[in-house]
Amino acid sequence: MTLDRAKRGQSIKITSIPDAGVRIQAIRFGLAEGSMVTCEEVIPAGPIVIRSHRQLLALGRGLARRIQVEVGGDPIVSLP
């Protein structure tokens, strides 16, 4: 599935980032194909916020739609 379908609290594995430019920027932020992240927040019709280690990143929906992910675990019960 794609990242925009992720639900809050899910732990996710990034499987493919098709855009080379985005891939390079993602590597700098510590995200590469194969990275595990947590979906921190889904803004309705808006960006997806993910947590990688201690860092929060907001990705626009159009971008999230192009990133392939696998859900890598049960949704973690998160703070309200």
Binding site: I27, A32, G46
Partner: protein, 662 residues
């Protein structure tokens, strides 16, 4: 010390002095280091990109140069290009890293180490690590990186002495495995290893400068570097249980629309109360009326009267109705200065707390409809401080298309702080419905222009990809210093322009041009905008600076509906002379001229539309006719947005956002 706009401008580096460059990710506290080394103040921003200016200062016999906060050195945007060129010319790099975010920060560290330059790492905010349940093995980090690592807490001045001691020990560190072989295998061998590395990483600018073909192995190198950084982090960072996470809840509330929009509204309301009501009313009442008009102006007139007759031409120019010594000083110091200080105070709070990138996330959806992504809100918000400065910061936007849209929106619709202050003050006296009318009309114009541009311009804008730094309580001393620096910047920029404007108006008045222009504009101002004839003077003043025009309006007796129509017109009016100059510099002449011309048309069109609609709905000064006007504007906006969406869908054959990134 010197403030320069480009690394090439860093003149006067003394013989034998070393160039010590400070480099780091955004929000690592670089500027605090810079201040400590050089003793001068620069902006400490919590948002990547509020300063594109490069500061340098002397430290002993050496020169310390600050760079914009970046995540890596390459050519992704202007900040990076600038940081890259400064780092390439460094003799020594002090790399400041955030001890809590090593996974992210060490990527830049490793890239700088890979350039072969001598490096010292300042492991900053080490006090935060314990609080967040982390332990960083600094000795191991030093041996893995191969360069000195000094723990620091910059805001509390801890570790500076050791950092200075260890500068002498700066050295070339351990490169990413496999990189040396790749560099050895290069056909072209530039003088410096740093340049060779950037060519190998496919940096088009550096490659072109050296006449080489950019390499195609960037991703391979980046992945190897990322692998090395992750492995270092695994070895040096230990997570102990416990430790509090940063304020997660508040951060969430700020970005979720259901709570985020009320929070944003609350912040704006607090600003309006503080600036529009308290400062514009109470404070300005004292500074403008009591101090400037009560004491200062009579004193200046009395003094001038001893030297020249006040009724002579120089007397009128200096101390008349639009006098250089009287009106200019009163407007700038008595009226605008307190408002500008208030605005910059709030802006500094937003910047330093980490709230700005959260606003960007919150409004991303809205801005994608206008061809910008959430990042675009930063120049727009900065525009409420100073449109001139904000126009320069549009360089942080990723594409030419986004820059064009942002600059046009800034030039046409965003009022700067000085003008905002006057407007907020005038609005505070006309009552709630009229405030709503003003806000809604300006917002509608912003949305309509953005949406239409997004539909008309070819291509597609880039998507949001932004780092949300931890929320921090702003440090009062930093907020105050920043407010002071920016307010001083305003004085420096505004005074000459105001003086020019006042001189122009006085000359117009003396030569009779003023009444001629007033008559000329009368069909527009009196007939179409339904304002008194004198309002034309305010618009003529507004050509120099819109706040100057707004200040002119504040002295007139207007009914609430007249006030709103006049304020809408002056808000949408031409950008100030300084902004226009910057727009001409940043864009093509044709585009800049079009922006200037269309703001005339737009301002009078929309202002007049409001006045005419209000009258058509039977308004005579009361609020009864306001809701229908608001509804009409909301309707026009909605219709435009829908039409543009349909048009766009038809053009691309699929819903917006479905196409690959340009």
């Amino acid at each position: 010390m010197s403030h320069c706009h480009s690394p090439a401008g860093l003149k006067s580096i003394p013989e034998g002095a070393r160039r010590i460059v400070l480099a780091g990710n955004p929000n690592t506290g670089k500027s605090v280091f810079f201040n400590h080394f050089t003793g001068i103040y620069v902006d400490v921003s919590n948002y990547p990109g509020t300063t594109l200016e490069i500061s340098s200062g002397s430290f002993g016999n050496d020169v310390v140069i600050d760079t914009p906060g970046v995540y890596g050195i390459s050519s992704f945007n202007d900040e990076e290009r600038l940081a890259r060129d400064i780092i390439l010319n460094a003799d020594l790099v002090i790399n400041i890293v955030d001890a809590v975010h090593l996974e992210r920060d060490l990527f830049l560290t490793q890239q700088i180490i890979d350039t072969g330059l001598p490096v010292v790492v300042a492991l900053n905010m080490v006090d935060e690590t314990a609080r967040q349940g982390l332990e960083v093995d600094q000795i191991l980090l030093e041996s893995l990186l191969g360069v000195p690592v000094v723990p620091t807490v910059a805001v509390r001045k801890i570790g500076f002495a050791e950092l200075k001691d260890r500068l002498a020990g700066a050295r070339t560190g351990q490169a990413t495995p496999g990189l040396d072989e790749l560099l050895d295998g290069m056909a072209l061998r530039p003088e410096s290893r740093a340049e060779a590395l950037l060519v190998l990483e496919g940096d088009p600018v550096v490659a072109k400068r050296l006449g080489a073909d950019p390499g195609s192995r960037r991703e391979e190198i980046y992945l190897a570097r990322r692998g090395r950084v992750d492995s270092i982090v695994r070895q040096v960072v230990r997570e102990s249980s416990g430790g509090a996470l940063p304020p997660v809840l508040l951060s969430r509330w700020m970005i979720r629309p259901i709570t985020g929009l009320p929070i944003l509204a609350l912040m704006l309301y607090a600003m309006y109360q503080a600036i529009g009501v308290f400062i514009a009313g109470t404070v300005v009442g004292f500074t403008e009326e009591t101090v400037m008009q009560g004491w200062y102006e009579p004193a200046v007139r009395a003094l001038a009267a001893r030297l020249i007759p006040l009724e002579s031409i120089p007397g009128i120019i200096l101390t008349g109705e639009f006098g250089l010594l009287t009106m200019t000083a009163t407007y700038v110091l008595g009226l605008l200065m307190p408002l500008v200080v208030g605005f910059y105070f709030f802006l500094s709070l937003f910047e330093d707390s980490g709230y700005l990138p959260r606003i960007a996330t919150l409004v991303d959806r809205l801005l994608t409809g206008m061809g910008l992504n959430g990042r675009g809100v930063i120049p727009l918000i900065l525009g409420f401080g100073c449109v001139t400065m904000a126009t320069i910061t549009t360089r942080l936007l990723a594409s030419e298309r986004e820059r064009r849209i942002a600059i046009l929106l800034l030039g046409l619709t965003i009022p700067c702080s000085a003008q905002m202050g006057v407007i907020a003050g005038m609005l505070a006296s006309v009552g709630g419905w009229f405030v709503a009318l003003y806000a809604l009309v300006i917002f509608s114009v912003l949305v309509i222009i953005g949406t239409v541009l997004n539909a008309v311009l070819s291509g597609r804008s880039t998507d949001l990809l932004i780092d949300l730094p931890p929320l921090r309580l702003p440090r009062p001393d930093n907020v105050l210093k920043k407010t002071a620096t920016k307010s001083y910047g305003f004085l420096k920029e505004a005074f000459p322009l105001f003086a020019l404007g006042a001189l122009m108006i006085s000359l117009f008045q003396l030569t009779g041009v003023l009444s001629f222009l007033q008559d000329l504009l009368a069909p527009l101002t009196v007939g179409w905008l339904k304002l008194p004839a004198g309002a034309a003077t305010a618009f003529i003043m507004g050509i120099v600076r819109r706040d100057f025009g707004a200040a002119g309006l504040s002295g007139m007796h207007l009914s609430p509906d007249q006030a709103v129509a006049a304020l809408i017109t002056i808000t949408l009016f031409v950008p100030c002379i300084a902004s226009v100059l910057v727009i001409f510099k940043e864009r093509s002449r044709l585009e800049a001229a079009m922006i200037w011309g269309s703001s005339w048309a737009l301002a009078f069109l929309v202002g007049g539309l409001v006045a005419q609609l209000y009258a058509a709905f039977g308004g005579t000064g009361g609020t009864a006719a306001v809701p229908p006007v608001i509804l009409t504007f909301a309707g026009i906006t909605l219709a435009t947005v829908l039409a543009c969406r349909l048009g766009r869908r038809k053009k691309t054959g699929r819903p917006e956002g479905g196409k690959a990134n340009a």
